[in-house]
């Protein structure tokens, strides 16, 4: 998106110059930042938060909604759109779409914790955008579900990318997918094991860093003290020795990953290096095969990383348990440090996959878990007892069985609406909502085509018993909250983005025709 910022800066002055030179102010007034306000009046205004205003007025100014109400005065010079007999909605939000995601990124490749869906989007796919506008959709959350971990969700405003900043959030919550993997065999047991191990390893990683920060602080103090007193402090040369409280001597000196493998600080830590030195080639081959097998069997590529340096050494850089089988003397660090000076603590290696999960464990980023059934949900609830993650779940099937627990933990359920009206799960959304669970509806289409049918998809939830204004909230305001952009989009309220849909016929009727769509105040569809 930074890339696009530049052309925009260039274009606007140029456009302004042309406008001033050739047409004077009218063009500027029409398209520039000072375009006159748009007033949509006479329609039934569905605010998106459950409120409905008969004969309401919506005033758009610039990129935002200026006012929403009944009998509002029309500002001077405003473009008036008569919506009499029509329905006015906030732009719809499909929280789980594959719109704009390039087809190859949809289908193949391995997921990773550090990937960002935002990097795989074609923001210039105007056909896809037009199709979505045709369905009244103006914001999408784009998620990739190729593997257990497939990076962070992107939240995209569907507007012409020409110089526009289309991301509402470049890095949304993390997608974690159980049993729903595309193009890769999946096994529940293994997936849960990996998820748990990754969280545990990240927890240790965080602890190692916390410990490092602590030691560093201590070291600085010691340094000051020794500078003041001029006394010599003994430093332990032996790397495998535990740090002595009176002489901090490189707690993390063991090198990459050591901190991660250790227990939390304080419990008489013994270095357990992750390197093996051997010239026994058959053993090495066996080891490599075994580890390779373990990796192929589901240790994520970013987790059980193995590096065969040569035929003599093999370094394991991760904290999973099998590494503990291997012994190697820790890499000496700061070995030349003079005996008389306090030893600087070794800095743990920064690992990006761990950093990604760290945000999750520290509550800075949410996790969205795609689950296959009630058993997965139960596993998740159990896991939450240990790790208080900010979590939402996507699926919907069988969630009703655990509705009370989900409600108690305020876990939003993104219901992938069965489009099979005969399905036994048709009432899933209604049942969850009745139990007090926050419900969001999505197409979760495997193809980008699905997103334009978001309202039809929600209509099926209405058939399942969800009241229609609830269903609307589930694809507008609640969807926005789930995506973390509830302050910007999702309802027709003053100060929010001017994303507005005018429909002939109610949105959930098949014969509804989306007649006009405004995105950030600009008319993008008219028919």
């Amino acid at each position: 998106m930074k890339k696009e910022a530049r052309p925009r800066r260039l274009l606007v002055p140029f456009g302004t110059a042309v406008a001033l030179a050739t047409f004077g102010s009218p063009l500027l007034a029409q398209f520039g930042p000072n375009r006159p306000p748009t007033v949509i009046r006479g329609g039934t205004v569905h605010v998106g938060n459950g409120d409905v205003l008969a004969n309401g007025t919506v005033i758009l100014r610039g990129r935002e909604i200026e006012a929403v109400g009944v009998d509002l005065p029309v500002p001077e010079g405003a473009n008036v759109v008569d919506a009499t007999g029509k329905h006015v909605y906030p732009g719809l939000i499909d929280v789980e779409s594959t719109l704009l995601l390039d087809p190859e990124s949809r289908a193949i490749g391995e997921g990773s914790l550090t990937s960002r869906v935002a990097d795989a989007l074609d923001l210039f796919d105007s056909d896809a955008m037009s199709a979505a506008w045709g369905g009244g959709v103006t914001t999408v959350g784009v998620v990739s579900r190729r593997a257990l971990f497939d990076g962070a969700r992107a939240v995209v405003k569907l507007k012409r990318a020409r110089g526009g900043d289309v991301f509402l959030r470049e890095e949304g919550d993390f997608a974690v997918t159980f049993g729903g993997n595309v193009g890769r065999p999946s096994m529940r047991l293994r997936e849960w094991k990996t998820f748990g191990e990754q969280l545990a390893a990240t927890q240790k990683y965080i602890e190692a860093w916390d410990e490092y920060a602590e030691k560093l602080e201590e070291y600085k103090k010691e340094l000051e003290k020794s500078a003041k007193e001029g006394t010599k402090l003994s430093a332990d040369k032996k790397d495998e020795a535990a740090p002595k409280p009176e002489a901090p001597s490189g707690p993390g000196a063991g090198g990459p990953g050591d901190g991660g493998r250790r227990g939390p600080g304080g419990e008489g830590r013994r270095p357990r290096p992750g390197r093996v030195h051997t010239h026994d080639t058959p053993f090495l081959n066996w080891l490599r095969d075994t580890l390779g097998w373990m990796c192929d069997c589901g240790l994520p590529s970013d987790g059980g990383r193995r590096e065969a340096h040569d035929h003599h050494a093999l370094t394991l850089t991760d904290g999973v348990s099998y590494a503990e089988l291997l012994e190697e003397p820790a890499k000496p660090e700061g070995g030349d440090a003079k005996k008389e000076e306090p030893k600087k603590p070794g800095r743990p290696n920064r690992e990006e996959p761990r950093e990604a999960l760290r945000k999750v464990l520290e509550g800075k980023a949410g996790v969205n878990v795609y689950y296959g059934g009630a058993a997965d949900l139960q596993n998740l609830l159990d896991l939450l007892a240990t790790y208080p993650l900010k979590v939402s779940v996507t699926g919907g099937g069988e969630a009703a069985d655990l509705a009370d627990q989900l409600a108690a933990r305020s876990i939003t359920v993104v219901v992938v609406q069965p489009h099979d009206l005969g399905s036994d799960d048709l009432d899933a959304a209604a049942t969850l909502a009745d139990a007090g669970v926050t419900v969001v509806l999505t197409t979760a289409g495997r193809s980008p085509e699905a997103t334009r049918h978001l309202s039809l998809s929600a209509a099926a939830a209405v058939a399942g018993g969800l009241p229609s204004e609830e269903a609307l909230a589930a694809i507008t305001s609640r969807a926005a909250t789930l995506l973390g952009v509830g302050d910007k989009v999702g309802s027709l309220e003053a100060g929010k983005h001017a994303d507005v849909v005018i429909s002939r016929g109610e949105l959930f009727s098949s014969s509804a025709v989306i007649e006009r769509v405004f995105v950030e105040g600009a008319s993008v569809l008219q028919r």
Binding site: D420, G445, R446, E449, S457, S509, S510
Partner: protein
């Protein structure tokens, strides 16, 4: 079998008519707020009177004396849905693939009345289906017309030897039997079409894919004076202008949310050329309605969409005397929806097949 407890459950769970009462000679009257007309439009409601499994009258201002009455505020009555290409109730394979031409094969011979798929179909609003030979053979055999519920709660054959199913797409030319090409197949096909024995009520159902297959099929059948319905053509765009006046209808579906708009626009393009469309979804009413809804969202006129679920497929099967529209004298195959049948948000309140109510889901 299950029918009796189910019917009892229906009576307890959902208020509307106990099935038993609908089968008695005394008339049953249903009050609805709208009725889908024979032209597909939404018309005014009123009382629908059902007697002896048939529709006696529609749109009356008051129920007849002595009738059991049931009211559906906001309800819209529509003919039960009809699906021309299903494998509902099939016991085993619906083909004899050793030979390419099997005009004597009858799908009715592979019919299993107690198949559970009938109940699901009936509940979803589908009242008449054709059990259709599969696409392995150039001439696959005769369809069997079925109603999804009989008086004993089972599927039942209405017409055994129905229209013929042909396959003109690559599926029927596996290469390991003769004929291996369409050119090679045409003489035998023409010969068969010339025989009276292959004449049936309704249209011959012909599976085609490409424009070139559409053209040769239309030529062969119109030369023999046969009425033809094209089954699930994949790329008919380039052949659209060949169809008016020559194809009785085109059978399309099922669509889902992932179906590209290029496909969901076909019904609209066909309707614009006055070529009727019928939808098929293997007897799944919900999928049929979704297909219709998607076609409407892609521009199909709602009237044509309603007919594509009911009257058009009934006509293709030669069953339009009894099914496909709500008219006095026809079999009482009807569904009361909570709104327009095309609106997915409209629930099904009642399904009658031949005047008998279909039980809703079992209550646990």
């Amino acid at each position: 079998m299950l029918a009796i407890p189910l019917l009892a459950a229906f009576a307890i769970a959902s208020g509307p008519p106990p099935a038993a009462s609908l089968r008695q000679p005394a008339p049953v009257a249903l009050r609805v707020d709208g009725v889908v007309q024979p032209d597909g439009s939404l018309g005014a409601g009123g009382w629908i009177v059902v007697r002896n499994g048939r529709i006696e009258s529609l749109g009356g201002a008051a129920p007849p004396a002595g009738a059991a009455t049931f009211e559906f505020p906001g309800g819209i009555a529509c003919a039960g849905m009809v699906d021309v290409a299903t494998s509902l109730g099939a016991a085993g394979q619906l083909a004899e693939p050793a030979r390419a031409f099997t005009p004597d094969v009858a799908a009715a011979d592979a019919f299993e009345p107690d198949h559970s798929s009938f109940l699901a179909a009936a509940r979803s609003g589908v009242t008449t289906v054709a059990l259709t030979p599969s696409g392995d053979n150039i001439v696959g055999g005769r369809l069997a017309l079925l109603r999804t519920r009989d008086d004993h709660g089972r599927g039942a054959v209405l017409v055994g030897p129905g229209p013929l199913r042909f396959t003109w797409s690559d599926e029927a030319f596996p290469g390991d039997r003769v004929p291996t090409s369409r050119m090679g197949a045409l003489p035998r096909l023409r010969e068969l079409l010339a025989q009276d024995a292959t004449k049936t009520a309704g249209a011959s159902l012909v599976a085609v894919q490409t424009p070139d297959q559409i053209r040769t099929a239309l030529d062969a059948f119109s030369a023999a004076g046969r009425s033809i319905a094209l089954l699930q053509p994949i790329h008919p765009e380039d052949a659209l202008d060949l169809l008016p006046g020559r194809a009785q209808a085109v059978v399309l579906g099922a669509y889902d949310l992932d179906t590209p708009e290029r496909e969901t626009r076909l019904p609209k393009l066909l309707a614009e050329r006055a070529v009727p469309v019928a939808f098929t979804a293997n007897g799944d009413g919900a999928a049929l309605r979704l297909t219709a809804a998607l076609a409407v969202r892609s521009g199909l006129d709602p009237k044509a969409a309603r007919l594509a679920l009911t009257a058009v497929p009934a006509r293709l099967l030669g069953a339009d005397g009894d099914a496909g529209t709500l008219e006095a004298g026809k079999r009482a195959d009807l569904v009361v929806y909570g709104g327009d049948p095309l609106d997915l948000a409209a629930k099904i309140h009642l399904v009658l097949v031949g005047g008998a109510a279909v039980a809703k889901k079992e209550t646990p």
